[in-house]
């Protein structure tokens, strides 16, 4: 904004004295007045006045585009840093896991079995409930369509393929994210806030090894147990609808389903779910270890962990679909 020279030139007192001292000696008083009037009139141009009222933008402030670019670049750099940190943690965990499998020491005795109990056995009730309900819903929805074409028997094919290839791994992953992932993040971030991670370090115990390796081993053991149970319960939902809706005997349903399913499908299902489980545990650990601040950090980290895990599960599922089918 052009400074209001008139106001300055009319000032009296010490300010005025300083202005006199700084006056250009090459300009006479009338010339100086003419310049002042010119600047003054420019300043009072209607457009300029309107701008003066509406836009408080200062001369040296960056433009909107520059600020937008800066913000986007800053955010991208920060995200890149997070991705790097995620992979650093992943490589740390892998190296500790290999070390542990070779040396078999450095973990708290009984921790792995406690985690298997938590991640496997204690996850079963919610997994059974959800897979049964989803099995029933999927079967019921598809049964209505199949009935129109008289293709009742293909319900078994549909349930088998949809549940085993896609829905059970996805649902198990999401349930693990909500139950196991949230618990792991909440535990680790609380430990961080309460200086327990620092305490572990100063006892010479690596927190990543101490906390993450039992959980990674546990999820690897727990996933097959969960998948097998989910398969049985999910298919049971389909069998119930097949029997009550079409009168298909359970034995025929299973026979028809096994005709379209192969061992490869079950192995892929197990692999997919195990990878989802690892993604959940690694993401939970990452969010837990990177939590900072007070107790509110625990809630924030837990939410972020669940969101990240679910996003990763869907992304990985997409990658599997691309490479496998």
């Amino acid at each position: 904004m052009i400074p209001d020279v008139t106001e300055k030139s009319n000032r009296t007192g010490p300010g005025r004295a300083r202005d006199n001292k700084s006056r250009d000696p090459l300009l006479s008083a009338p010339e100086e007045n003419a310049i002042i009037k010119k600047i003054d009139s420019a300043d009072r141009h209607p457009v300029d006045n309107r701008l003066k009222k509406t836009s408080p933008v200062k001369k040296n402030e960056p433009s909107l585009l520059t600020r937008l670019f800066e913000r986007t670049a800053g955010s991208a750099i920060s995200r890149w840093g997070q991705v790097k940190d995620y992979f650093v943690l992943l490589s740390d965990e892998t190296s500790h896991l290999v070390q542990y499998l070779i040396k078999r020491k450095g973990l708290y005795p009984g921790d792995i079995s406690r985690q298997i109990l938590f991640m496997g056995y204690q996850t079963l009730p919610i997994l059974i409930l959800i897979t049964l309900l989803v099995g029933i819903t999927i079967s019921y929805t598809s049964a209505a369509q199949l009935k129109l074409f008289g293709a009742d028997i293909y319900l078994a094919d549909f349930v088998g393929i949809a549940m085993i290839r896609e829905l059970i791994p996805l649902m198990t992953g999401i349930i693990l994210a909500g139950k196991v992932g949230a618990a792991v993040t909440a535990e680790i971030s609380s430990m961080k806030v309460l200086e327990e991670l620092d305490a572990l370090k100063t006892m010479g115990i690596d927190p990543v090894k101490f906390l993450m390796i039992p959980r990674l081993i546990a999820i690897t053991v727990a996933v097959p147990l969960l998948v097998v149970t989910a398969n049985i319960v999910g298919v049971l939902g389909g069998i119930l609808i097949g029997y009550f809706e079409f009168g298909t005997p359970p034995a025929s349903f299973v026979k028809q389903m096994l005709g379209v399913l192969f061992i490869k499908d079950i192995l892929i299902e197990l692999l997919k779910t195990t990878v989802f489980g690892w993604a959940v545990v690694v993401s939970a650990g990452y969010k837990g270890f990177s939590a900072s601040g007070g107790t509110e950090a625990v809630g924030r980290a837990t939410t972020e962990s669940v969101v990240l895990s679910i996003a990763l599960i869907i992304g990985l599922d997409c990658v599997f679909a691309f490479f496998i089918y």
């Binding site: 020491k105 450095g106 609380s190 430990m191 327990e196 620092d198 305490a199 100063t202 006892m203």
Partner: protein, 244 residues
């Protein structure tokens, strides 16, 4: 002889130093109190001394060996020789008191039999007067009991020095005095060096052999407690007046 020597130490977070050009030593077998106002960098200094925060410049020597923050081995050696009592005791909430104290032994001393571990843990519990509480979870203990348990865990690996971060924080005057007495007893009976971070003058008077005063990001005073109280220094005088 100094167990810890700091030379031209600059400590801070990111690129911003909180403490500048610190030169001091922590003498072996004595209780040194690190004193300063809130925000003076006491805990920051402690984090560096215990090997959690690499200094921006300068060096820390422990028993005349340079503490190299880039070397995992150097840090691990350092951790094995120190014990830390954290402000909130930092006991693992999922383990009972006995298991909390046994934890470092179970991880590092895999050669020890269960009987030996039990013996050592019980000895430490008795040392801090918690022999009846080994089966309790940290959540079932009072603040003072948690601090004592934290001290027992800090001692279980027989460290050369025990660092205590604000041991009196959150405790009533009676419990705080009991904890001070416990620290003095440990020092006098076992010769363990203690470095205590605090701003509680009651604790300073009770436990300090030497005092290190931090002010304006520098060491403002480093000497015997007797010298400190006779100092004609405006900051020290105002500090004592303001906080007593």
């Amino acid at each position: 002889m100094n167990i810890i020597e700091a030379r031209q130490l600059n400590i801070g977070y990111g690129e911003i130093p909180v403490l500048h050009g610190l030169d001091f030593g922590i003498p072996e077998g004595r209780i040194t109190v690190i004193l300063g106002k809130s925000g003076s960098g006491k805990t920051t200094l402690l984090k560096s001394l215990i090997g959690l925060l690499p200094p921006l410049a300068g060096e820390i020597r422990f028993c005349d060996t340079l503490l190299d923050f880039r070397s995992e081995k150097s840090l691990q050696d350092h951790y094995r020789r120190i014990g830390v009592l954290y402000q909130n005791a930092a006991l693992l909430s999922s383990l009972n008191l006995f298991e909390n104290i046994a934890l470092p032994l179970r991880i590092h001393r895999t050669d020890l039999r269960e009987k030996d571990i039990r013996e050592q843990v019980e000895k430490r519990l008795a040392q801090v007067g918690l022999e009846q509480s080994g089966g309790k979870l940290p959540g079932e203990l009072s603040g003072g009991m948690r601090k004592r348990a934290g001290l027992a865990r800090a001692l279980v690996q027989e460290p050369k020095i025990v660092f205590c971060d604000e041991p009196s924080a959150g405790l009533d005057p009676i419990t705080s005095t009991q904890l001070d007495r416990l620290m003095i007893r440990l020092n006098r009976e076992t010769g363990t060096t203690l470095a205590v971070v605090t701003h509680e003058l009651r604790s300073v008077e009770a436990v300090a052999d030497r005092v290190l005063v931090l002010h304006d990001g520098r060491v403002h005073f480093d000497g015997e407690f007797g010298e400190l109280i006779t100092q004609k220094d405006p900051f020290i005088e105002s500090f004592f007046l303001r906080t007593t």
